[in-house]
């Protein structure tokens, strides 16, 4: 046994690591375990998986690389990190694909066993990068992870293939050692996961421990790191992805409103998860219908809305386009329904596995006629939970379709979430109309919402439909004045929502040189960028819109309080055009349409550019 040297321990405040390997290498799992343990020891964190577009790309290819990035810190974390500090590369393709994004001077842990001629060729490496100057300037730790795993599991009853599948846990073990994390959470998890195959649990645990010991014992690593717990609010936490949060938000709205969910949906990346998660909650009375297409999904949901359910439909861009006509029907019939669009790269089929923010204008006006709907957007994975509740709340209260926009980035990304007390959550509720006296299907309350009288209610029999309806009676009415009136009523009803939502909040000072205005999944990045810029002395603030139609009432005031407004978006300027048209103010834009989340440094760069290099002074 080699002599164990005492290793240096360095304290860091903030680390970004990326696990990368072949799709078959279990990188998502490894990443998730590292996250769970990291959360458990009290760091704040944010994660971002990066799957290949192919289901199972051939092993070793560049397009088969699967990655998982994780940013953790002893203070607030808002993004999964711009650039990794550490890269775990399980094969040459993983190295090739991820190296360009690694921080200069960053750390690389490579599995040298996989750097054979075949894999090098699959990764388009002409020469072995471990042997030329490719990795100059990085801290490279070459570890024969596969063979070490095999050695460690020599005595196990597992097959060679099974043994080789344990190598990601060896890598995880190294990382646990490096960042000083306990093994027990993962150990527990493996025991439960493989409770029917204890030898697999054991094998993986052994591999992990061997990796840990490898860090401890060998000379390769001279330093290990400590990241202190973050100062998070007290409470019970879990990790949550955006899609899961959306599903749970709806479930909560269903329980709170005492209305069973009807979700009519057709699978589509990256929205399928919502259908998948909600399918599990049958014992909450949740009805999920995997429809024949997106149109059937939403129209069935409208049927259920008519019948008194909490009606939902979930999709992504191309599916959203297909729902356009039916959203118009929802507008005309004034039925409550939430339409979730988990945005992905477009146009058309586009980039199904990439993120984008380019469906905002579609949400606004992607239908025939004057067809106003409420549009809201979630800004982080956990915020999806609250915005799902908010969408349901508004839909029911105002008897209107609500479009909830999320995106591939926050839908698949995850972060720790302090599980709220159910009682503290907003009230979601709506009474059915049962009183016959004075009932008309299009009579309105103070918000302009019409009554909800559901089939089965004696004496309230009535008909609704897509033709223009008579104010109050709801009969078909083709009269010019009635139409003009109804067009304005439908519009006013949506505007009235502004009376019922919270003000736009500003991070930073109430006025200044620049306001960075965003919406949706760029929240964390913009917040970090503004935070850094402020640290550098810039007079810049950040505001992020959750309600986009209507805008919060104070939006104009907020905008007017800054000399300049910058709107960074992952599109060509869709919010910018709405803001310009609504408030007639000049705005600066930053538009990167790369299928990727913004980087903090991109936005910081733009802020610096706009305010001048001299810290805005």
């Amino acid at each position: 046994m080699p002599e164990v040297k005492e290793k240096k321990i360095e304290t860091l405040s903030d680390v970004t690591v990326r696990f990368a390997g072949d799709s078959g290498d279990g990188m998502q799992l490894t990443g998730t375990q590292f996250s769970d343990t990291t959360a458990w020891v009290g760091n704040d964190l944010s994660t971002l998986p990066d799957y290949p577009a192919e289901i199972r790309a051939p092993a070793g290819t560049l397009y088969g690389v699967s990655g998982f990035q994780l940013h953790f810190s002893s203070s607030d974390v808002n993004t999964p990190g711009d650039v990794p500090d550490v890269l775990v590369a399980m094969n040459p393709a993983a190295l090739k694909k991820n190296l360009p994004e690694l921080r200069p001077n960053g750390t690389i842990i490579v599995n040298t066993d996989s750097f054979d001629p075949k894999n090098l060729k699959l990764a388009n490496y002409e020469r072995n990068p471990l042997e030329d100057d490719t990795l100059n300037g990085y801290h490279v730790h070459e570890v024969p992870i596969t063979s070490l795993t095999k050695n460690a599991l020599e005595d196990s009853s597992l097959s060679l293939k099974e043994v080789s599948r344990c190598k990601n846990f060896f890598a995880l073990g190294i990382m646990y050692w490096l960042y000083n994390r306990p093994l027990e959470k993962t150990e527990e998890w493996l025991k439960i996961k493989f409770k029917n195959k204890p030898e697999l649990a054991e094998g993986n645990i052994k591999a992990m421990k061997s990796g840990y010991n490898f860090g401890e014992i060998t000379e390769i690593f001279t330093t290990r790191y400590k990241v202190d717990p973050a100062n998070l609010p007290k409470g019970t936490y879990r990790n949550i992805s955006g899609n899961e949060a959306t599903a749970l938000g709806f479930l909560t709205a269903s329980v709170k409103s005492n209305l069973p969910i009807f979700l009519g949906s057709y699978p589509i990346t990256p929205a399928s998860d919502i259908l998948q998660y909600l399918s599990n909650y049958k014992n909450f009375g949740v009805k999920t219908m995997q429809a024949e297409d997106e149109i059937a999904g939403i129209t069935a949901a409208l049927g259920a809305a008519f019948t008194g359910h909490l009606a939902l439909t979930s999709t992504s861009g191309p599916g959203m386009a297909l729902k356009a006509e039916a959203i118009g029907l929802a507008v005309m019939t004034e039925l409550p329904i939430v339409i979730v669009n988990v945005q992905r790269g477009g146009p058309s089929t586009g980039l199904p596995t990439k993120t984008e923010q380019a469906d905002l204008l579609q949400a606004f006006c992607g239908r025939n006629g004057e067809s106003p709907v409420c549009v809201i957007a979630a800004q982080t994975p956990r915020d999806c939970f609250y915005q799902a509740i908010e969408a349901a709340r508004i839909a029911l209260k105002f008897m209107t379709p609500v479009i909830l926009l999320t995106d591939g980035y926050i839908a698949n990304g995850s972060e720790p979430w302090r599980i709220p007390d159910i009682e503290d959550l907003p009230d979601v509720h709506k009474e059915f109309r049962t009183e016959k006296e004075g009932f008309f299907p299009y009579i309105r309350d103070e918000n302009l919402a019409r009554p909800w009288a559901i089939p089965g209610t004696p004496g309230l029999e009535h008909r609704i439909g897509g033709l223009e309806t008579d104010d109050i009676t709801g009969n078909i009415n083709y009269e010019p004045d009635n139409h003009d009136k109804m067009v304005r009523i439908r519009n006013q009803k949506i505007q009235n929502i502004a009376n019922d939502i919270s003000d736009l909040k500003v991070y930073g000072d109430d006025s200044g040189d620049l306001l960075v205005l965003g919406w949706g999944g760029t929240y964390g990045t913009l917040k970090d960028a503004v935070h850094l810029a402020r640290k550098n002395g810039y007079k810049v603030s950040h505001a992020h819109l959750r309600h986009i139609n209507p805008f919060p009432k104070n939006t104009k005031d907020v905008l007017k309080s800054y000399s300049k407004v910058l709107i960074p978006e992952i599109n060509l300027g869709q919010l910018a055009s709405l803001i310009k048209s609504e408030f007639l103010i000049e705005v600066e834009q930053q538009n990167l349409v790369r299928g990727l989340p913004f980087k903090t440094e991109d936005v910081l760069g733009k802020i610096t550019e706009l305010l001048g290099g001299n810290n805005g002074k």
């Binding site: 749970l248 014992n283 049927g303 008909r463």
Partner: protein
């Protein structure tokens, strides 16, 4: 507009199912008869709970019918009635859900929802007003118009073969398939009742005259002089005979139907094919569906097929009950907590 009548304690009549809206079809349209038979039949099917009846439709002349029936109604968008109705029925399986639709609405733009409804066996009653034309848009050919039909969009004759709607319904797994004619009120009433009584997707094709754009499309089956020779009334357990004097019959030669003359003495009623509505396999129904297209044969009217299997809405409800029983009623707190939590103190 709502009808604020009291919950009925005595049996309803056709009048109770009349709404206060003016009926706006062309004078002479076959839709009037269908509406009348529906209003006459509903009180027998749904004895007292008018409020539990929902009519869903798409767009077309036929799809206006919900406005005229004083129950809950949803006039949807073109082609989507079966999907909307599925949502209604799944949301509340207690309701009696009817779909009124046209040949364009159900079979052109709505074809997909139709076949998927049949496949799933959603407990809906679908009444297809088949006038073999687009009425509301003023006379274009439809997917049930005969090939070569001259219309506004086919001035030189259409090049499309028509669907055989019964064949399509069978091909997609429908559990109840029947046909009736607008001007045959008694039989139509009976078919509406049969459809109403079926548990599962009931598909009733009703031949309907559009006297403005496709007048006389079914005159062979409605004219006094020709109808007896051209209609074959299907009755379960009865031999398939037709003709004014019931002197012709259908016989099977292998799987091929042939017409035989019962007056020559070569054949007796015993040779004649006996109708079996309840056959598990849809083969007989398919044979009958296809003789419709053969001008040598009479057109079968009545129930082609009726089988029982679990409904989609029923299965969803049972699954919820089953899971709830097994796992207990959902606990939101548990759901929010999920599998993996930690404490920050």
């Amino acid at each position: 507009m709502a009808n604020n009548s009291e919950v009925q304690t005595i049996k309803l009549t056709a009048k109770d199912y009349k709404s206060d809206q003016d009926v706006r079809w062309c004078p002479g349209c076959g839709d009037y008869s269908i509406l009348a038979q529906v209003q006459r039949t509903l009180p027998d099917i749904i004895e007292k709970e008018k409020a539990k009846v929902v009519w869903v439709s798409g767009i077309g002349c036929s799809s206006r019918i919900p406005y005229y029936i004083n129950t809950y109604g949803f006039h949807g968008i073109h082609g989507r009635a079966p999907a909307i109705a599925t949502g209604v029925k799944v949301a509340n399986p207690e309701l009696d859900v009817w779909v009124a639709t046209g040949d364009g609405d159900l079979l052109s733009i709505g074809g997909n929802h139709f076949i998927h409804t049949c496949r799933r066996n959603v407990d809906l009653k679908i009444l297809l007003f088949n006038n073999r034309i687009y009425g509301l848009t003023k006379g274009q050919y439809s997917p049930t118009s005969e090939k070569g039909k001259i219309t506004k969009t086919s001035p030189y004759g259409s090049v499309d073969y028509p669907f055989n709607p019964i064949s399509l319904a069978i091909g997609s797994g429908a559990t109840f398939v029947a046909r009736a004619i607008d001007v045959n009120p008694k039989h139509l009433q009976e078919m509406i009742k049969r459809a109403g009584g079926h548990k599962g997707t009931a598909f009733l094709e009703i031949y309907q005259n559009c006297n403005i754009f496709n007048d006389g499309a079914f005159s062979l089956l409605t004219d006094k002089d020709t109808k007896d020779d051209n209609i074959l009334y299907l009755e379960h357990g009865k031999p398939m005979v037709f003709g004014k004097d019931l002197d012709k019959g259908i016989k099977l030669d292998g799987t091929k139907p042939i017409i035989v003359d019962l007056t020559t003495g070569s054949f007796t009623k015993d040779d004649i094919l006996v109708h079996d509505e309840f056959s598990a396999e849809p083969i007989l129904a398919m044979i009958l569906a296809h003789i419709t297209d053969d001008p040598a044969f009479p057109t079968p009217i009545g129930v082609f097929r009726q089988i029982q299997k679990e409904t989609y809405d029923g299965a969803i409800a049972s699954q919820i009950d089953f899971v709830t029983e097994k796992r207990g009623k959902g606990d939101l707190k548990k759901a929010l907590f999920g599998a993996n939590t930690w404490e920050v103190n």
